[in-house]
Symmetry: C2
Subunit: 453 residues, 2 copies
C-alpha cells in the first residue's frame, strides 16, 4: 500500500472519555484498577492494528481548578487511575506490536528518573514506548509536591525544554554498539562508547551516564499535547507527534499549517511530525441511533459535574451563575490559556448558555465530537486527513471497552475499504508504525561530522 | 503444616550476584535488558513457591565511590539494568502468586510518585508488591540529581522516616469501601471515606489525596536494607522485613536479637518483622565439586574489578596499594558505615591481604557464602533458621538463571523434606506469604477508637 496511511491511537481512560461513561450499564464497575480490563483493551487495539494505546495522566486526584471539590469529584470516576509506567509496562508484557504512549509531566519529575523509566519501557516492549510530554497545569498537582501554587506557564515550558534536552542526552549515554561482552578478555563494554553528559543548566545539573542501554528506538517517540505558543514552538523543535484538540476543520487546518510551517526553522521536514487531533466518535447503524446514544450519555451528566468540569477547563469558578444564562466575562488566566480561548470562542460563536457549553464539552472535553454511521464518521476522518488537518487521530472512545470495540468493528473496516488504514503491521516499533526515522546517537553524528571536516 | 516456615526471596541482578558471573558461558549475553530472561526467572521462582522476587537498584551507572572509573566499570556487567517499577509491573502481568519487591531510594524521589507507583503495582499484581526502602549512598547518584554530594547519613535517614510516613498516609487516602459506584444515583464514591492528608513536615509538604485506591494489601510490604543504627531504628518502627548481610551465625544472631528487641518500644510483636539475611549458595553434587565451581567463578574476577569493588564498599580508594599486602589504616567515613566496619573487622580477624579480602567479598559482596552439597547448604540454612539468626533468606544466586535453577532443583527439595518450606502457596498476597497482617486504614482505626472512647 503506497497510499499515505492514517495513524490511529486508542486513548485509555479508566471508564472512557465521556465524563458520565461509568454510569452506563455495560461499563465494568471495577474499571479503574482492573488490569485485566486494560489488557483486553490493549489487545483489542493491537488486533485492529492501531499504532498505539495512549494513556493520559495527572498527579492529583482532583484538578483543583475552579469549583472543584471532593463532593463534586465523588460524582465522577475520575479521582483514581493506574500510574502510566506501571500500567504500560504490564501491557508491554502481554502485547507484541502495539505502541505504548504514556503521559508524564516534566513539572515535578527528574530527567534521570524519566529517562531510565522510558528507556526500560522501550527495552521491555522492544521499541514500542512513546512519551507524551506535558507540563502540570492543575493547581492540585503543585500541592502534592511541596509547592503552594503552579509555576507560571512560561517557566513551566522553559523547564520542559531543558528537561527534554537532558533526557535525550541521557538516552545517548551508550552508543548502540557499546556492549562487546567479550567473555574471554573480560571486557563488557567499550569505554570509548560510553558518554558522560555533564549537563549543567538553569533547572538541572545531571552528570550521567544513564544506567540503561540506549533504547531500541534510539529515543522513545516524543509526543506533545500543548497547543499554546510556547507549546507549539517546543513541539516544532522536538516533538514527533502532537495530540491536539479542534472542534472544526478550519481550526485544525490552521493549527496543522502553523505547526508544520515552524519545522523548517529547526531543519525538520513536515513528515517528521505527526499531527493527531482527538476524535470522540459515537457510532450508530443509523444517524438517529447514533444521536440517541449520544443523548443517552449526555443525560447521565449531573449538572454539578458539568459546571465543575467547565470551571476546571476554563480556569474560573462558574458554580454561582445561572446555568441557563450566558458565560460571564472572564479575565484571561495564566493557566490553560489555549483551552480557555477555545471555549470562550465557542460560547461566543454559538451563543451558548453555561449548560449548553458544559454539555458540549463534557463528553469530548474540547475534542472533536462526531456522531453518525460508520460511513459518516469515515467521511469526516477522510476529509480531515486529506485536507491538511490531520495525519491521524487519537480515538477517544466515549466509554470503554464497548465504545472502542464498536469503533474497531464498524469504522476501522470502512477506513480499510478506502485504503486509508493498514491491514497488517509492517513495522515492529512505534517509530516504524508512525513512519519516523530512528535518531542516530549524537556522539556518533559528531564523530561522522569530525571525519567529514 | 503448622511448623514455622522459611521465607525465600529470589534476588534478581541482571547476570547474577557474583561480580564475574557474566563471563560464564551459560549466562546469556543480553541478560541486562532482556525481559524474556527476567520473566523466565520469575516464573521459575514462582513454580518453586518462593515468597518473592527481589530487585535491587541504583540511580547511577557507577557507584562513584573510591577508585571507580569508566574503565573499571567496563570490565563488569553492572553499568546497566532495567528500572524496578517497569520491570516488576511487566513481571506482574505474567505471574500469578509470587511477590514483587522493588528497591527504591527515598533520596531523590517524591513520596507522591512513589506512593502511587507502588499502589499501582499492588493493584496490577493483586496484592503482591513490596517496597525495599533504601537511602542513596553512592556519590554518583547525587550527581544525577542536581547535587554535588550526598546529604549526610543522618539527614538521609530523617528524610526517609518522614518519607515513609507520607507514603503510608497517602495509601490511606481512600478507605477500602470508599467506592460505592452507584450508577443510578450517580454517586461514585462516598466523600466521607476520602481523606486529605495535608502533610506539612520538615522535608515534605503533600496535600493528597492519592489518585489510586487503597492498595489490595492496605500497604505494600515495607522492606528495609540498612543495618546502621538509624537504619535499625527506622526498621523497628516501620519495616516488615529486613534484608541484611552477615558472614557468621554469631553476627546474624546478634543482629536478630537486637532488632527484634527494639520492636516492643513501638508496640510491635517479634513476628511482625521478618529478618532475611542474604545467602550466596554455590551448590555441587559433592563438596569438592561445589568448591571447584566457586573457584572457577573467583578466577574470572579481574584484579582491577576486585580492588575497585572493595574500594567502593569500604569508601576509600585502594588502587595504589600492594594487592598482597594488608589493608591500610582507614579513617571512618560518613557513608556505608556499617558495611565498612564489617569489612575492616573481617580483614583484621583473619589477617587478609587486599586480594584475599576482595576475593572474599567480590562474590557475595558482604553476604553469607555457603559452598557445598544440597544437604550441607540445607543444614546451614536450618541452623540459622532454628537458632535465632533468620526468618528466611534472600537467595543471591551466583549467576542467573542457572544458579537459581540449581538452588531450586537441589536445595529447595531438601528444605521441603525437612518440613521447612512450603509445597504450595497458601495465600494470594505477599503479605500472606510472609504471614503479615493487613494494616487497617488509620482513619477507620481512629473512628473505632473514637467510638470506644
Amino acid at each position: 500500500m503506497s497510499q499515505r496511511q492514517l495513524s490511529l491511537n486508542a486513548f485509555i481512560l479508566p471508564t472512557g472519555h465521556h465524563i458520565a461513561a461509568w454510569r452506563r450499564t455495560d461499563v465494568p464497575e471495577h474499571a479503574n484498577h482492573d488490569i485485566k480490563k486494560y489488557i483486553r483493551i490493549a489487545q483489542s487495539a493491537e488486533a485492529a492494528k492501531f499504532d498505539a494505546v495512549f494513556v493520559s495522566d495527572s498527579v492529583a486526584a482532583a484538578s483543583g481548578n475552579g469549583g472543584s471539590s471532593l463532593e463534586e469529584l465523588s460524582l465522577t470516576a475520575r479521582g483514581t487511575r493506574l500510574e502510566p509506567f506501571t500500567l504500560l509496562a504490564a501491557l508491554a508484557a502481554v502485547t507484541e506490536r502495539i505502541g505504548l504512549i504514556g503521559t508524564v509531566s516534566t513539572s515535578y519529575n527528574e530527567p534521570y528518573h524519566l529517562a531510565r523509566k522510558f528507556a526500560s519501557l522501550d527495552w521491555i516492549s522492544r521499541g514500542r514506548a512513546g512519551w507524551n510530554l506535558v507540563t502540570s497545569s492543575a493547581p492540585a498537582e503543585a500541592l502534592n509536591f511541596n509547592q503552594d501554587q503552579l509555576p507560571p506557564h512560561e517557566e513551566r515550558y522553559q523547564r520542559a525544554e531543558e528537561f527534554v534536552d537532558v533526557v535525550q542526552g541521557l538516552w545517548d549515554s551508550w552508543e548502540d554498539d557499546a556492549f562487546v561482552r567479550d567473555k574471554a578478555s573480560g571486557q563488557f563494554f567499550d569505554p570509548g562508547k560510553l558518554h558522560v553528559l555533564n549537563h549543567k543548566g538553569r533547572h538541572f545539573q545531571v552528570r550521567g551516564p544513564l544506567n540503561v542501554a540506549r533504547p531500541p528506538q534510539g529515543y522513545p517517540v516524543l509526543v506533545q499535547a500543548g497547543s499554546s505558543e510556547p507549546g507549539r514552538e517546543i513541539a516544532a523543535r522536538t516533538a514527533e507527534a502532537i495530540f491536539t484538540a479542534h472542534q472544526t476543520l478550519e481550526s485544525a487546518q490552521a493549527f496543522y499549517a502553523d505547526v508544520k510551517g515552524r519545522l523548517a526553522r529547526y531543519g525538520r521536514r513536515p513528515e517528521e511530525l505527526k499531527i493527531l487531533p482527538g476524535i470522540f466518535p459515537v457510532v450508530g447503524s443509523t444517524e438517529e441511533e447514533a444521536q440517541a446514544r449520544y443523548r443517552g450519555l449526555q443525560e447521565l451528566i449531573d449538572p454539578r459535574v458539568g459546571v465543575n468540569l467547565l470551571s476546571g477547563l476554563i480556569g474560573a469558578d462558574l458554580s454561582g451563575y445561572d446555568l441557563d444564562g450566558p458565560l460571564p466575562e472572564l479575565a484571561a488566566t495564566n493557566q490553560n490559556k489555549s483551552r480557555q480561548a477555545l471555549l470562550l470562542d465557542l460560547a461566543r460563536r454559538e451563543q451558548l448558555s453555561i449548560r449548553e457549553l458544559y454539555l458540549r464539552i463534557a463528553g469530548a472535553r474540547g475534542h472533536w465530537t462526531v456522531v453518525g454511521t460508520p460511513a459518516q464518521i469515515a467521511d469526516r476522518i477522510q476529509q480531515w486527513f486529506e485536507h491538511g488537518a490531520a495525519d491521524g487521530f487519537n480515538v477517544l472512545a466515549p466509554w470503554l471497552p464497548g465504545g472502542l470495540d464498536e469503533f474497531i468493528a464498524q469504522v476501522v473496516p470502512e477506513l480499510r475499504r478506502r485504503g486509508l488504514f493498514r491491514e497488517e503491521y509492517s513495522g515492529a516499533t512505534l517509530r516504524e508504525h508512525f513512519g519516523l526515522a530512528r535518531p542516530e546517537n549524537r556522539y556518533v553524528l559528531q564523530r561522522q561530522q569530525d571525519v567529514a571536516v
